[in-house]
């Protein structure tokens, strides 16, 4: 891939991710927040492709865009939430303090990024990031965490069923 095309794709994906991030935080209606989140997730999937991680990009689309955002949309529709109109906050100056502290946080991260000399980017083979490549590590070195993750999933399913049962007094 030529350098210019890569830069163009990165810029477009970055713009999409940032626009989506603003949309998630600033949208008045939760539905728009959810769709903005979808934009962020799609843009990040493109970035994963640029970073030689096609398997992660696929997972991103299937799990995040396919399952999690749909779940959010289901809940929004279920609660038919017009809860966009937020009342004024009980805490005075919370909004200003939040923006100032977040800006300071970002400035701190950028300062670290500027001072640290980054290591050279290593050369990788063509199979890097493929399902076979990641799956090989997942089923050999990291097989125990993998099994634990499946247990966490089952616990989550049971928890959702238990919490979602009809309320009995």
């Amino acid at each position: 891939m030529s350098a210019l095309i890569e830069i163009i794709i990165f810029s477009a994906a970055a713009a999409g991710a940032l626009a989506g991030g603003v949309g998630v935080v600033a949208s008045a209606q939760p539905v728009r927040s959810a769709l903005s989140l979808l934009l962020v997730l799609g843009s990040l999937a493109v970035m994963y492709l640029l970073l030689a991680a096609p398997f992660v990009a696929t997972l991103q689309v299937i799990i995040y865009a396919g399952a999690i955002v749909v779940l959010f949309l289901f809940v929004i529709m279920l609660l038919h939430a017009r809860s966009g109109e937020e009342r004024p906050s009980k805490l005075r100056g919370q909004r200003v303090a939040a923006f100032v502290l977040s800006a300071a946080f970002y400035a701190a991260i950028l300062a670290v990024l500027r001072t640290v000399r980054s290591a050279p980017v290593s050369t990788i083979g063509s199979e890097f990031g493929s399902a076979q490549f990641v799956g090989g590590a997942l089923f050999t070195t990291y097989v125990l965490p993998f099994e634990l993750a499946s247990m966490v999933l089952i616990v989550g399913i049971i928890a959702a069923v238990v919490i979602g049962r009809p309320f009995v007094r």
Partner: protein
Amino acid sequence: MSVPIPYYLALSALLFTMGVVGVLVRRNALVIFMSIELMLNSVNLTFVAFARQFGTVEGQVMVFFVMVIAAVEVVVGLSIIIAIFRTRDTMDIDDVDLLRG
């Protein structure tokens, strides 16, 4: 790699900061939840960027686990939000302050 890795890291930091702002400023529980997802995703981007920089698989494996935990977190969190909405008929976190001293 014509786009340097620090660019990805700066973008990831900006996305994370947006998520922090969302959690701090918004009071709709669903939007706060989506902001948390935003933060998780920005960290995933950092993992993948470092995996590319060092040429190791560990970063991408970690992203896999983050996604699993995020899915479980969304399922449990949304069912809690639905349960709260059923009993208290609100999604504003300022209305759910029974633990307040």
